[in-house]
């Protein structure tokens, strides 16, 4: 397994390098890294920056200069805040990881439960309702759903019942100075719901199909013929086998989840990676945009790697090489 991880990490390295070069090229040819300096109109400072970043050289050369400082931990200084980029991204990671983690866990559990229910009771009323709901979940812009959630579960009940504070909060991840778990939970519910709706809708449809496949297989028929209890057939025989393809779909959506965070963090004012991205993009802060993209790409690659490991754990027939 260690050789597998090492091999995959080695294989991912060129992918990330190529991706970083393409991003570097795209960002450099569309954004002017000196825009901020030009406003001040200080020819000396501009000249210094040009020499430092090698802006008078070709793009591949500039990329190598940038890559060397990136790898050595010198990620430059944000032109928006004037502070080093590395701690800026480090601070933004933590809130994002929390929302992503809870979003992922809750979405997997709910999508899994819906998959098993819908497949076991195929064509029942419940199945039809859930399938219909998944169509709507897929067809809805997530930010719109998030705004409706705020109106329905935070703003409206407070006004209707004259409460001092809304039952669920929609700004940030905790009230200032509070470390109360209940307070944390009341902050998490809405962003996590907005983040996971589309994922639950997509995953439950894949999961339902995978579960139906498993239920129609020979080993389930054999188990039924042997008189294995129904509950045991569903959970031990079918669900365990349906889990492997399900995990693959979940992992492939890692980038979608991170993209959803950009929207979620914006709506719920969570100071994470998504907000950092939007603020940097508005300010054309190329010094943050590039490292941001690369950190996210590495995160997605790690997720895919974990998925492959999970697949092998779930399906002993798969050998990791």
């Amino acid at each position: 397994m260690i050789t597998f991880v090492a091999r995959r990490a080695l294989y991912s390295l060129p992918v990330i390098l190529v991706a970083s070069f393409v991003l570097f090229w795209a960002v450099r040819s569309t954004f002017d890294p000196l825009a901020k300096l030009r406003q001040v109109n200080d020819p000396q400072a501009i000249q210094r920056a040009i020499e430092q970043m090698g802006l008078d050289r070709s793009i591949p050369e500039q990329y190598l200069i940038w890559l060397r400082s990136f790898v050595t931990g010198d990620w430059g200084v944000s032109s928006r805040t004037g502070t080093p980029v590395l701690p800026l991204i480090g601070e933004a990671l933590w809130p994002t990881l929390q929302v992503a983690f809870w979003g992922l866990v809750v979405a997997v559990v709910i999508a899994g439960a819906i998959s098993v229910f819908s497949a076991v009771r195929q064509y029942s009323i419940g199945d039809h309702i859930l399938t219909g709901a998944s169509y709507i979940g897929i067809a809805m812009p997530a930010f719109w759903f998030g705004l409706i959630l705020i109106q329905t579960f935070a703003v409206w009940p407070r006004e209707a019942f004259g409460l001092a504070e809304p039952p669920l909060f929609f700004i940030g991840l905790h009230s200032s100075g509070s470390s109360d778990p209940l307070d944390y939970l009341r902050h998490l519910v809405l962003p996590v719901s907005a983040l996971m709706i589309a994922l639950v809708a997509t995953w439950s449809r894949y999961g339902r199909a995978a579960m139906l496949d498993a239920l129609a297989s020979d080993y389930v028929r054999t188990a039924r013929a042997k008189g294995v209890p129904r509950r045991q057939i569903i959970w031990r025989h079918a669900a365990r086998n349906a889990l492997a393809p399900f995990v693959t779909v979940v992992a492939l959506d890692a980038a979608v989840l991170l993209g959803g965070l950009v929207v979620t963090e914006q709506i719920f004012a969570i100071p994470g990676m998504g907000r950092l991205f939007l603020q940097s993009l508005v300010a054309a802060d190329v010094y943050v945009l590039l490292p941001w993209m690369i950190v996210v790409a590495v995160a997605v690659v790690i997720c895919n790697l974990l998925a492959d490991l999970g697949y092998a754990l779930l399906d002993p027939r798969v050998r990791l090489r």
Partner: protein, 300 residues
């Protein structure tokens, strides 16, 4: 020689298509589809009212009534009016022109590029195919919305750059699907036969492969209309999409987001509902096409 080739491969393609049925049968299956047919009607209706807004919309575009100000839905203004007294229904219909046009343009563009490159990657293979597929892999590891936002912001937001940015990512999905299909078609007897009698690669792709790809491409295209409309609205909501004075459903939602918690919150619901209904219809039509083109559910 080429005449004989056409006859022989034509027959074999005929055989190929008999498994999915003639055009008439496909049409009949689609018309009977419980969700697809009503969806098609609704979508056509939406297209007509949006693009015919100049005639159909109850009020002219951008007509302000500052004395009236914001009002709720009423017999005069079915969906109410906004801050500056503009009829919200009329605004939505005009905004729909941009949203729908972007959705359709992105689908057409990414389908053309994706199908061509996917067919080349699948049929020619070799280092060209490998390179194309590695490029599509790259797009899987960065969040699409972030990349699109950077491209649009870099090029300057306008409906044209939005279409280009969405298509720049959208073609990868279609190329992937088409390549998979071409890889399996390539091994079939009728392609061998065409090759055996000396048909050129261009000819094999154009007259033997592409006709067999129609089903899968049409379904992928409908999915790409749906995702383009959603992504455009998200982009506009984040502030990197359609800019005033142009407007789209997403841009209207972006405005209405500020009304959460006020008595004008009803303005938030309508543009979103239009997006929801449009995307639902497109997805149902896609499902209907899939079922009609491939009733056994084998290929698509």
């Amino acid at each position: 020689m080429s005449g004989v080739g056409q006859a022989v491969s034509g027959e074999l393609i005929g055989e190929q298509q008999s498994s999915t049925g003639s055009a008439v049968q496909i049409m009949r299956r689609f018309l009977r589809h419980r969700l697809a047919m009503p969806s098609l009607v609704v979508l056509v209706l939406l297209l007509v009212v949006c693009f015919g807004a100049a005639v159909i919309a109850p009020y002219p575009r951008g007509l302000q009534d500052l004395l009236l100000g914001p009002t709720g839905p009423s017999p005069e203004h079915w969906l109410g009016t906004d801050e500056i007294g503009r009829d919200y229904l009329s605004e939505i219909l005009y905004a729909g022109q941009v949203s729908l046009a972007i959705g359709l343009a992105v689908a057409v563009l990414s389908t053309l590029v994706g199908t061509a490159l996917g067919a080349i990657a699948g049929y020619v293979g070799g280092w060209i195919g490998e390179l194309l597929m590695r490029i599509t892999d790259l797009f899987l590891i960065v969040p699409a919305i972030a990349l699109i936002a950077i491209i649009v912001q870099g090029l300057g937001p306008s409906p044209v750059t939005i279409v280009l940015a969405l298509a720049a990512l959208g073609w990868t999905y279609i190329a992937r699907v088409v390549r998979g299909q071409v890889l399996s078609l390539r091994e079939r007897d009728f392609i061998d036969a065409a090759r055996g009698i000396g048909a050129s690669s261009v000819r094999i792709i154009a007259s033997h492969l592409l006709p067999n790809l129609v089903g899968i491409v049409v379904v992928a295209m409908s999915l790409s209309v749906a995702s383009a409309i959603i992504v455009e609205s998200t982009l506009s909501f984040l502030g990197f999409g359609v800019q005033p004075p142009d407007t789209s459903w997403g841009a209207m939602l972006s405005q209405a987001a500020g009304y959460v918690g006020t008595d004008r919150v009803y303005l938030l619901y309508f543009p979103g509902l239009f997006i929801l209904v449009t995307v639902l219809c497109v997805n149902f039509i896609g499902d209907g096409l899939r079922d009609a083109l491939d009733p056994q559910g084998k290929q698509l």
